[in-house]
Amino acid sequence: MSYEKCCRTQAVVVHGLATLLSHYRRHPGQLAMLLLGLWVASALWSGVQAINASARDSYARAEALFTTGLDRLERRDGQALTLNDYLRLRRAGLPVSPLLEGHLEAPDGTRLTVIGIDPFTLPGDSPFATAGSTGELTDFLTPPWQTRLAPDTLTALGVMDRRARGAGPRLADGRRLPPLVLAPSLPPDTLVMDIAAAAVLLDSGERLSRMVAAPDSLAEAPEGLVLTRAATLVSPGQLTESFHLNLTAMALLALVVGLFIVQAALGLALEQRLAMLRTLRALGVSGRSLVGLLTLELLLLGLVGALAGIVSGVWLARLLLPDVAATLGSLYGAGVTAELNLPWHYWVGGVAVTLGGLFLAGAGVLWRAARLSVLGLGQSQAWRAGFRRQLRFMRLAGALVALAGLALWAWLARQPPGEGLLAGFGLMAALLLASALWLSPLLAALLAGLEKLAHRRPLTQWALADLQLQLPRLSLAMMALLIALSANLGVSSMVGGFRLTFLDWLDQRLVADLYLRPPAERFEEIDAWLAERAEVAERLPTRRTEATLLEVEREGLTRELALPTSLYGITPGKALMPSWPLLATLAGREAAWQAFREGEAFINEQLAISEGLAPGDRLILGAPQGREGVTVAAVYPDYGNTRGEVLLATPQLTSRFGAPPGSIGIVLTAGTDDAALGQALTRRFGLGGDSLVDQREVKRIATGIFERTFTITRALSALTLGVAALALLASLLAQARERRRRLAPLWALGVPRAQLIGVQLGQLGGAAFVTGALAIPLGIVLALGLVEVINVAAFGWRLPLFLFPEEILLTLATAVAVALLATALPAITLWRTPPRALLAEEANS
């Protein structure tokens, strides 16, 4: 390229870009709208992605920890293993390693998990290999020992990052931890140290929490011990997958709504710059250069928007993460750090998604700019014809999306229940998109129809015709509003319905007044003591253990499985049986409980759905003495549980599966003080505060978990609605000046300003009302989809569909209020504009 040519190209780029951008100097509102759209879309998306990335990082760290991925050995009678048990097994040649796990309280109240290991016998890649800190094994093994921890655990200990190494911070009880060594690969709130140091801190003497072994290195469990294979332990990543998919779907929704604003703003900016673009073309800028310039402009705007969005997204994530972490902790037992940990690809991905979305939204604009005719007349007539074409396209695209949705639905209908979470979200997306695409044609048809009806009322007719003219610009904002409203309605119906069902179910399940978790070695003694007490009406001992579901037999067909399943033992007592909820039985509740007492099983809804089981089917479970067969007598709802569960009578679970002692539910005789019994228990057996919980406390905790679970869903759905409202507001503000110009002739013809404003409010309020009205059936269908498809696939439970009229009314009112608010601001400006200015604008047009 010659120097001259190079200079010319540079000049075209610089001057062309300056000319293009000068438009935004004259119309800062449009720039603001464009950036706002990009910013909110990118912020919500990257906020949720930040949460997901942090959570995934925590799971990955938890999975990399030696406590997962290894086979575990515990004593069958539930008592603690000791150093001597360990030595006996090692001397017999078994490759086991001792593990001590306990909890300590940090000065700020955080519960820290302490894991004591023996690096000499620990199988697999120990934290040394991954933590990057080597050469210090002697320091690790000898006093004052070392505490290995991830940097995000430092805050709880009140240690600054820089001063962390070698610091020996104090615990809540004033004792000092061994000097710190940072190991970023460790999970949050986890301290790893030599087992000798952990034994001192936890005051555990020669007791062990468990022994671990490399997967499948032991052929069978040694005498008196229970061997739990690592394969049967579910990792937090697997459990929480659906939770994160839900979040991602919400974020995607917000992104789409934000991009609607962007497209509206870009379209508007192009319309208004058509004349300028033609001038540039006439001055010799080639069509290709013009498209290049517009692309460059998009890139600049996109980068600004994406960076602002990511910064706000991280801020948003920081705000929401503690709630998410608490939810994941209580619902799935998955430890997630409350501090953000963002990998590099997060930042790149955030910018890429925003830019990608921006170019998708701007593709139409670029296409039109490329085909720009130099001689074309940029008039609204031509433009209207364009809109007609656009409406045809929208109808067609809507139909195609709807067809795709139908196909998905047909496919889903043939899947076993509980499958197709992604397809479910796809179906929802298709439904929303098809409705959004059909919205404008529908509004246009509606307006055309109304116009015919109103031919005797000139002002109304004008208003309708004018609205038709506004429709191309309003349509995108209205589409965004429709999507946000229906999503909001769908989500709140689902959450509300779940809430009702859940609270009801909680009442049915929690029949005991007190729940006691005695230490395993004193279980019998405490149980016997309780049996003697007059105020105890009934004891409902429970036990838990794990087993592998080996086979299911259904309608004479046997299917082999190897499904890790939890076994739960309950006591079918007088207090429990009448209220325990059952979803399906073979021959009524009475018969089901009779069978249960005789050794048959109930299964939870999750297991029934995932394996397609029903009452009457037979299960073969792996038990310590071989295979145990049980018949499914009933299916029960088990909200909040993420795994399949088999329910058996506690004595059955003890004798057939060797389950260790668990907790005791205590039903008191009427009018007894539960606090008095609690005190007596504590006095007599010296039980700690956390081994005895009353029913109110359990309910409070469970409800708290529930509320937190949906906090973020509700927050995101509300934010999305906010974005849609902004979209509408922004598109109205952007064309306020032009609107004034259209209103000026009417004013000149003698229509009072109050009436003019009334007309405007009516136009938009009406359009928003229609959109809101359409959002209601759409929202109900969405709620149905969430309840019937998404929840079943994600959590394994099905809920009845509840509709809340007040929510529906609120949706409609929100739509109208948003529209009126968006009209009010330009209307106030109009009210304040002196008539002379209006006349001047009329003269200009």
């Binding site: 030595l87 000499f120 199988p123 697999g124 120990s126 290999a129 000798a196 034994a199």
Partner: protein, 387 residues
């Protein structure tokens, strides 16, 4: 062998960095000598000339010294006359000097144990490694700990691997007849051995009545051997068990600073010669006069009388190298002891005897023959470190 790989990273570092003493003139962060054996002894007990060996006490552990081993190699053959090699070693390392030992709380340790076992036959070479900890003040040390050594009745063990006396009478010399049992499960069907050892001769003290000097500046270790083992039993390799018999050599050595700081490794021979003599010979590369290699050895008569060989009485010349697991190692040597008119070619028939353990080294069977006639003159073991 994920586990081995992992522990390797740890243990190399442990062996290397397990010291409080000042680093000598090797560079900062560089371990002194092979595997840190050249670290200064610091507050540990020191091996020196004049220490009287006492038995059976000295068969047991010496926790006040930094490092110690019980090292058995055996040249065996099965019923078809096919040769087999067997190695079993228990290493002890003190992580703190005696006065800095931690309180004997549960799990607290001042002694670390590492054991290696190997079986080799033809090209096959199988290796396993174990680790354990103990506290020298723990009363379990006499039998119940994960690893340990007791002098009377003799027993050395880690997990289920053990070298133990089978002499019933407690007042007799329990070191004379031993049983060695070690098995390791692996994907190839497992390997291991059950061997009965009987001593056909006396214990042999090396160097100056048991003090074996290791460098010109006087560093050294306490060192004695039992080179007269007659062995019978069975060896399992890749799931196949064979009846075997042959000869074994057991080394006992302890010290707090085995090597001079500039010594990078050693080549060590133990040979059973056809005429009933035995030869122990080693050279430490570096650390001799004027920076040369430091050589030493013992010439042992069939009756067990040992003559210490001075550095200038031994000539050891590498003749040929071969690649073993990616390292060039000399597997063909010329060994000359003019004082007793000995001239031998010592050669490893199979080069693949690399011990890919946390402290890696080469350890394998060798045969000795006459340089001129090629007549077979004996067999034994060669250990080479620092390659």
């Amino acid at each position: 062998m994920n586990v081995t790989k992992r522990v390797a990273t740890i243990l190399v570092l442990l062996w290397v960095a397990g010291c409080e003493g000042e680093r000598s003139d090797s560079g900062p962060g560089e371990p002194a000598g092979f595997a840190g054996l050249g670290e200064e002894a610091g507050d540990f007990a020191q091996a020196h000339a004049g220490i009287e060996l006492r038995f059976p006490e000295d068969h047991g552990a010496h926790p006040d010294y930094r490092i110690e081993w019980w090292y058995l190699t055996a040249n065996l053959e099965d019923e078809q006359g096919e040769p087999l090699g067997v190695q079993w070693t228990l290493f002890r390392q003190a992580v703190t000097p005696p006065e800095a030992r931690p309180e004997p709380t549960p799990w607290a340790a001042d002694q670390l144990w590492m054991a290696h076992m190997a079986v080799s036959r033809g090209e096959t070479h199988r290796v396993a490694e174990r680790f354990a900890r103990s506290h020298s003040a723990d009363e379990r040390n006499d039998r119940g700990g994960q690893a340990g050594v007791q002098a009377q009745p003799f027993q050395a063990w880690i997990d289920d691997w053990q070298l133990a006396s089978r002499v019933e009478a407690p007042e007799a010399d329990t070191f004379e007849r031993l049983t060695l049992t070690s098995h390791h499960a692996d994907e190839q069907g497992g390997f291991g051995y059950d061997l009965r050892l009987a001593a056909d001769g006396p214990l042999v003290r090396h160097g100056e009545n048991g003090f074996s000097q290791k460098s010109a500046d006087g560093q050294g270790s306490m060192y004695y051997s039992q080179p007269f083992w007659h062995i019978e039993g069975s060896v399992t390799l890749d799931g196949e068990t064979r009846a075997v018999s042959g000869r074994g050599w057991l080394d006992r050595e302890w010290s707090s600073q085995l090597l001079g700081p500039e010594q990078r490794g050693w080549d060590w021979f133990s040979l059973h010669l056809a005429d009933g003599h035995k030869l122990m010979a080693f050279q430490l590369r570096g650390g001799g006069e004027d920076g040369g290699d430091y050589r030493s050895g013992s010439w042992i008569t069939p009756r067990g009388d040992a003559t210490a060989l001075a550095p200038d009485e031994l000539r050891m010349t590498p003749l040929d190298t071969r690649e073993a697991t990616g390292r060039e190692v000399p597997i063909r040597w010329r060994l000359e002891v003019p004082r007793v008119d000995l001239d031998l070619i010592v050669e490893a028939p199979h080069a693949e005897r690399w011990m890919d353990t946390s402290v890696p080294y080469w350890e394998g069977e060798v045969i000795a023959f006459d340089p001129a006639s090629g007549e077979a003159l004996g067999e034994g073991y060669l250990e080479m470190t620092g390659y």
